[in-house]
């Protein structure tokens, strides 16, 4: 019975998430919710490599930036329709991720964290570089226009973009859930939990890690594309190392190695800094720092893990476990 509930819950949540904001939220609130969806996808990408495969990336902001810029350049230079930019940025980000993963993931340990951290710090510089200025618009960035709803659907631009992002995100979440449930997902987790044993089982761990990293970069790149369309603007300084760190905070707060976790993480990184910002400019950073350390000590499985624990307790108190089960554990 619990199984049925836990299977239906995401769908009920999804329908509520699609319908309620259209009825209740203002345009600005819809924009915020669109960004929550965008961040959820970005964190989901990070979660695939860091949560499920155990390889720590501190530079996913760079892939987010690549996705955003691919979309912005295609829409600005070639008048490409917004939806057609998503597959392109997915392919490019996967390629970049694969190439960067090759050297960094051959070795275990913290080498990926170091390399991606360096990438994140260098990203704004690369985007401002003179040789690519014709494409990227340099420091000025690129302004793009928000698409209208197609086929004469009765939605305004914000509502349509929210529904579009939600649809893309749903597909990506389903893909990710299937990926980690299947053979490859088990191989990913085996590599995370015991690389040596995984290798002995016949998993090519270097290749698996690099592929996972590529898929993860692809997810985050698509999020970057959606984010660029929602914000209607890309500029180098919005993709600083702080973005990568923000995604990392979202991952930890939401729940490492959880498919639902990124949603909580995204809600956190979208709304908490706005509240903290009212206190002082330094407050969001301080809040992130304190929360990150507090979660490491108190709630290492994040909000998703915490809620799962609560739910389990609640279910157990409503429906006492069968005798055979209670002896087991």
């Amino acid at each position: 019975m619990r199984n049925g509930v836990s299977r239906a819950a995401p769908w009920a949540f999804l329908i509520a998430a699609a319908v309620l904001p259209l009825l209740l939220a203002s345009d600005y609130q819809l924009f915020q919710l669109t960004m929550v969806v965008v961040y959820a996808v970005a964190i989901l990408g990070l979660n695939l490599v860091t949560g499920f495969n155990g390889q720590i990336s501190l530079g996913h902001g760079a892939f987010y930036a690549v996705g955003a810029y691919v979309t912005a350049i295609m829409m600005d230079k070639w008048d490409a329709p917004y939806w057609a930019t998503l597959p392109v940025s997915a392919a490019i980000c996967a390629g970049v991720g694969f190439l960067l993963g090759l050297p960094a993931l051959r070795l275990g340990g913290l080498y990926l964290a170091l390399t991606t951290f360096a990438l994140a710090v260098a990203t704004p510089q690369l985007l401002k570089y003179k040789l690519v200025e014709d494409w990227t618009g340099g420091v000025q960035g690129i302004v793009i226009t928000k698409p209208d709803a197609p086929f004469g659907l009765p939605f305004n631009a914000d509502q349509w973009l929210y529904l579009f992002s939600l649809t893309v995100a749903t597909v990506l979440f389903l893909l990710a859930a299937n990926l980690v449930r299947g053979r490859i997902g088990r191989a990913m987790m085996a590599t995370r939990d015991h690389a040596l044993a995984a290798e002995a089982m016949g998993i090519d761990i270097a290749l698996l890690k690099t592929r996972t990293f590529a898929v993860s970069a692809m997810f985050t790149g698509i999020a970057g594309s959606l984010g660029a369309i929602a914000i209607q603007f890309v500029a180098p300084d919005s993709f600083s190392v702080f973005l990568s760190i923000t995604l990392f905070v979202g991952l930890v707060v939401g729940g490492v190695a959880s498919i639902a976790g990124p949603v909580f993480g995204a809600l956190f990184i979208e709304f908490v800094p706005n509240i903290a910002d009212q206190v002082s400019k330094a407050a969001p950073g301080a809040v992130y720092g304190v929360i990150l350390i507090a979660f490491m000590f108190l709630m290492p499985s994040g909000l998703a893990g915490f809620l799962r624990g609560l739910l389990r307790k609640a279910v157990r108190s409503i429906r006492p476990a069968t005798p055979s089960r209670s002896t087991e554990g």
Partner: protein, 290 residues
């Protein structure tokens, strides 16, 4: 030619700073296999402490000594309070704490001291450049200070009982504990030393780049590159790597990629090292026994 020589000299001067931070990183890495992503922000925060003292009227070298001592205490306290309970936690936990520390130091510094660029005094005077105009007074002075620091650290680890005990604790904690070395205190001491070295590096680089809460992010990156280039398992290698990165950065910035891509150079060095020689120039290749 003169230009090249000048770039070489300032490369060595900034290389000394990178070498110090790289050494601090490698010390912690050797003892705990953690890479301290907050090392740069800790150094930045120490530099603000120094500036506050100087502005309060403490003479430069007095402020210098107090700052180093305070940084030592902060470093050791972080190890005791935050890192010690996490000794056996997964890598993600330690990285999370380091990133948390990075954010906290950065925002607390921004909150206490504002985000505006501040000039930081150089103890070596403003006078004209020395040796026919190649070396500014500060470059010479800061290089000498970093060399003194590096030599002191080396001598400490090489010739003192405490240094030997710390090396033993890093090399084999279990056996060290059996022969009576308080391993936990040794780790805290190592953290304190690393923070103190970082503080010196911060105070030496601040007159060049000006002080602001993001001052050290570039330095930290070059220190990573230096540590990897020299070999993250070898302190001496990390120091040499740090100097090399300083020279590469200055000459590359002046003649090859231009100043806009200087940080990217660090990324390139890291990637090239990982592709060509992952153990670094002087590091040992780690072989796991199955």
């Amino acid at each position: 030619m003169n230009g090249l020589l000048h770039q070489l000299v300032s490369g060595i001067a900034s290389g000394g700073i990178y070498a110090s931070v790289a050494l601090a990183l490698v010390m912690i890495y050797q003892a705990t296999h953690h890479v301290n992503f907050a090392q740069g922000e800790m150094a930045m925060f120490s530099t603000y402490i120094a500036l506050t003292l100087i502005e309060a009227g403490v003479p430069y070298w007095g402020a210098f000594v107090i700052t180093v001592a305070v940084s030592f205490v902060i470093g050791a306290a972080i190890q005791r309070v935050l890192m010690n309970p996490m000794a056996n936690a997964p890598v993600l936990a330690s990285v999370g704490i380091f990133i948390g520390l990075l954010l906290m130091f950065n925002s607390v510094a921004g909150w206490l001291f504002t985000y505006t660029l501040k000039p930081f005094p150089s103890p070596f005077g403003e006078g004209p450049p020395l040796f026919g105009g190649f070396v500014s007074r500060h470059e010479l002075g800061s290089t000498i200070v970093t060399l003194i620091v590096l030599l002191t650290v080396w001598a400490f680890f090489r010739f003192t009982r405490l240094g030997l005990a710390m090396r033993a604790a890093a090399f084999n904690p279990v056996s060290s504990r059996l022969v009576g070395i308080p391993v936990g205190s040794m780790l805290a001491l190592g953290w304190g030393l690393a923070a103190a070295i970082g503080a010196v590096a911060g105070m030496m680089i601040a007159p060049v780049v000006f002080l602001d809460p993001n001052m050290m992010s570039g330095v930290l990156l070059y220190a990573f590159a230096g540590a990897l280039l020299g070999g993250i398992t070898n302190p001496l290698g990390a120091v040499v790597g740090g100097f090399m990165v300083g020279v590469i950065e200055n000459i590359g910035g002046a003649y090859i990629v231009g100043t806009e891509l200087k940080l990217t150079l660090a990324l390139v060095i890291i990637v090239v090292v990982l592709v060509v020689r992952p153990a670094g120039l002087f590091g040992k290749t780690v072989v796991n026994r199955v």
